[in-house]
């Protein structure tokens, strides 16, 4: 428990003062300082009878409603299922006296009936929307099932601690709770995914379609490697996939899209608006776009061709229609071309400004005023060099280049020989016109 709290603090960004207090209490609880605190499993209290303090049975506990605070969600009211088709009863948590695995006790209704409770958008039904739903384990890239939900009763308030995906909870749900207790240790903490990592797909938690939850915060989604995201996208169903994809930044989405298998690319693009697709495509090279286009149905690819910029579209078209293409088609126009008299330190500054918008950042090309290529610097060399020195002092003068007309097959051979990650393309007058990347030449066939 202590580990969990500190871990979530170190990972998270801003934490409100209120949830700090709550965490403190939980911390105390785990150290046994607060006697009024205990854990409750949702599965153990749900469907148990609900009685008033005088012992009159009202119905069965149907669900717990929480306010979805991403840090620690608090139960705001309970839903009681009643027999003979009477509508379910909503009772505020303030009127709940006690919750045990035997029964839930509520106060007598004030003035004969419980005050009406209005549902707001940020409320969430625990059993209906979370229990028995799937949760995608971002670390293991596997889908788990939320077998149970761990709650914590602190000074009369009930909080959601996390989603239990462990074997212990599984056995408990199958009715082998006793066996589970004797065979396994009592639910290790690794089995519980902290609530702040339980992220619903889509963002709208009350939505009916959000069958998969992610155990990661939305911020965290950005930090996942695109290849891993691609694996995750492949694991999901079509609906869920679209929701996750829509939640991604364009740049991340572009990388993830490129890395998924053709079938998934097809399905994702089929349900992406053309505006979004256009934005995503700006992060991809013509080769990558052509690669994706080649797996789309003809109608769709023609549709997407329309939204591309004209020069990109013509290249993509060329790539799709011709067996071999010249280097100019594969060229990337955005590269770092610096003057030779820049100091290393100045180069660093410019690198910081320009590299973000650029596709080729592993090499710096040294050029003169007219754009003639004079040399190349590996970013590694730049980092190791003396900050006061000039670029031309450390650059490699003997640069391997290709002509715009060099065909892809030949470019491949050059890459194989030298093992560069990118090669500049120069015209007859040695002017640099673009850069060709290794990954655009060697496509996954």
């Amino acid at each position: 428990m202590i580990d969990e709290v500190s871990e979530s603090q170190s990972r998270g960004g801003q934490v409100s003062a209120r949830s700090d207090q709550i965490r403190e209490r939980i911390l105390k609880a785990s150290l046994g300082q607060n006697k009024t605190t205990r854990y409750i499993f949702l599965s153990e209290v749900i469907s148990k009878r609900v009685q008033t303090e005088k012992g009159v049975t009202v119905g069965k506990l149907k669900d717990l409603v929480i306010r979805d605070d991403p840090h620690y969600a608090e139960v705001t009211n309970i839903i009681i299922e009643r027999s003979l088709g009477r509508p379910p009863l909503y009772v505020s948590w303030d009127n709940v006296v006690n919750v045990t695995t035997e029964k839930t006790v509520i106060r007598e209704p004030p003035e004969g009936r419980y005050p009406e409770i209005k549902h707001t958008g940020d409320q969430l039904l625990l059993r209906d929307k979370i229990l028995d739903k799937r949760i995608l384990d971002i670390e293991g890239f596997d889908i788990e099932v939320v077998y149970d939900i761990r709650l914590l009763l602190v000074e009369g308030k009930l909080f959601v601690v996390g989603a239990d995906v462990g074997r212990h909870a599984f056995l408990r749900r199958l009715g082998f709770g006793r066996i589970a207790k004797s065979v396994l240790e009592n639910g290790s903490k690794e089995d519980v995914i902290p609530w702040r990592y339980v992220q619903s797909l889509p963002a709208d938690l009350t939505g009916t379609k959000g069958d998969v939850k992610l155990n990661i915060t939305r911020q965290g989604l950005k930090d996942i490697h695109p290849e891993d995201l691609a694996d995750i996208l492949e694991e999901l169903s079509q609906d869920e996939r679209v929701h996750l994809f829509n939640a991604l930044d364009n740049e991340v989405a572009a990388d993830a899209l490129e890395a998924t298998e053709p079938r998934v690319q097809r399905e994702i693009l089929a349900s992406t608006t053309s505006e979004r697709a256009a934005q995503i495509f700006t992060y991809l090279s013509p080769v990558q776009i052509a690669d994706i286009m080649s797996v789309l149905p003809r109608d769709d690819s023609e549709e997407f061709m329309k939204i591309l910029k004209r020069d990109v579209a013509s290249k993509v078209h060329q790539l799709l229609s011709q067996h071999d293409v010249p280097a100019s088609t594969l060229a990337i126009r955005c590269f770092l071309g610096f003057q030779g008299d820049l100091t290393i330190e100045e180069a660093f500054m410019r690198f910081r400004d320009e590299a973000r918008a650029c596709n080729v950042t592993m090499y710096i090309y040294v050029v003169d005023n007219e754009g003639h290529l004079r040399g190349v610097i590996d970013i590694n060399e730049l980092l190791q060099a003396d900050p006061a020195g000039k670029l031309e002092e450390i650059m490699t003068r003997n640069v391997v280049t290709v002509a715009p007309t060099t065909m892809r097959a030949d470019v491949k051979a050059i890459f194989r020989k030298y093992r560069f990650r990118a090669i500049p393309i120069v015209d007859d007058s040695k002017k640099i016109v673009g850069v060709i990347r290794e990954k655009d030449v060697f496509l996954p066939e």
Binding site: R86, R134, I143, V145
Partner: protein, 426 residues
Amino acid sequence: MRLVPRLYYLYRRAWKRLAIFSAVAGPGIIVMVADNDAGGITTYAVTGSRYGFNLIWLVIVFCILAYFVQEMTVRLGAVTKRGHAEAIFDGFGPFWGWFSLIDLTLVNFLTIVTEFIGMVAAASIFGIPPLVTIVAAVIFLTVLVASGSYWTFERITLVFCLLNLVYIPAAFLANPSWSEVARSIVSPSFPAGLTTGLLTLIMANIGTTIAPWMLFFQQSAVVDKELDEKDILYSKIDTALGSILTGLGAAFIMIATGSTLHKMGISITEASEAALALVPFAGQYAGALFAIGLFDAGLLGAICISLSSSWAFGEVFGWAHTLNVKVKSSPWFYLFYFLNVALAGAIVLIPNVPFVLITLFVQVVAVTLLPAALVFLILLLNEKELMGPYVNTKLQNVIDWAIVVAVIAVSSLYGISTIFPDLLGG
């Protein structure tokens, strides 16, 4: 996803869906099974006794038609939260509104009379006198709706729907040749060509499969149950399940009578005759089951048809028209229901009432109402502003219009042929 969690997840999801379905289900099953009312049972029994298994395939076709028609009322009700009568008033003005309402009330009332006739005939097989049957039925029908809860009405009525399945054991007792049954379903055919008698029977079958009250009933029931747009899918499944049940009922009636009466060349005109005629061939239990089924059918029909009248009247007159209110809070709604049931029962007790004439009249009035109701229904379902995403799709429109045109053509022919029996004979 590993196998065990996957299985567990699928199992839980299936359970949850089943739970949601069982909560949403009701209107569809009830309306479809109640469609096999006393008149329906008679039609199927007569069809089976005359043509054996040959027309079973038609029943299957009709059930599919009924599904597509009723499915529209589900969407309309769930989206607009209004009953059919209200929808017609709002959409097509008071003339068509009153026309539909008065037509519906008349047809419904006369149909309830035929339900009572069926119940009386079925009960008399067990030696129960008509007066007892009718008084008991009226009391039961009144108490059923007076609980002040739609849920109670629905769940009890669903039990009666299950009783409709008694035709299955009845058919088994008749010991039919199943290979023959299967053959007749797989290779549809019209025996001995399209004769007038056959055509009349086919029309009668359509007439009992798609009836005006069904549209009004299911839409009002969906509204009374407070079903929502998110329930539409399950409600459609409910309707589909209902149409399968009603198809099973109809098919097994034909199997029961087809494998006995048809083989022996016994001709009948009433379902109660079928029950009696079954006894020598399939044993007294088969006959008894048949009679129970007939009584159940009459009862179900009476409940649903009188409710559809009451709901429609309540909608138009602005009475509280829901079963979820107590009798005291909505006296007119319940009184109208009670009068429908009680008066229909009373008419049956009058000696020498010309029932043949009543039946004839019902058919004719129904023929004038059904086209209007169906056309209104499709027009409403094509209103984009009203239906939103649940508006009719192209495919649905093609199917629905085809059904409507066919039903209108056939039911008009049927109506004409009942008034002028010689016309088609030529």
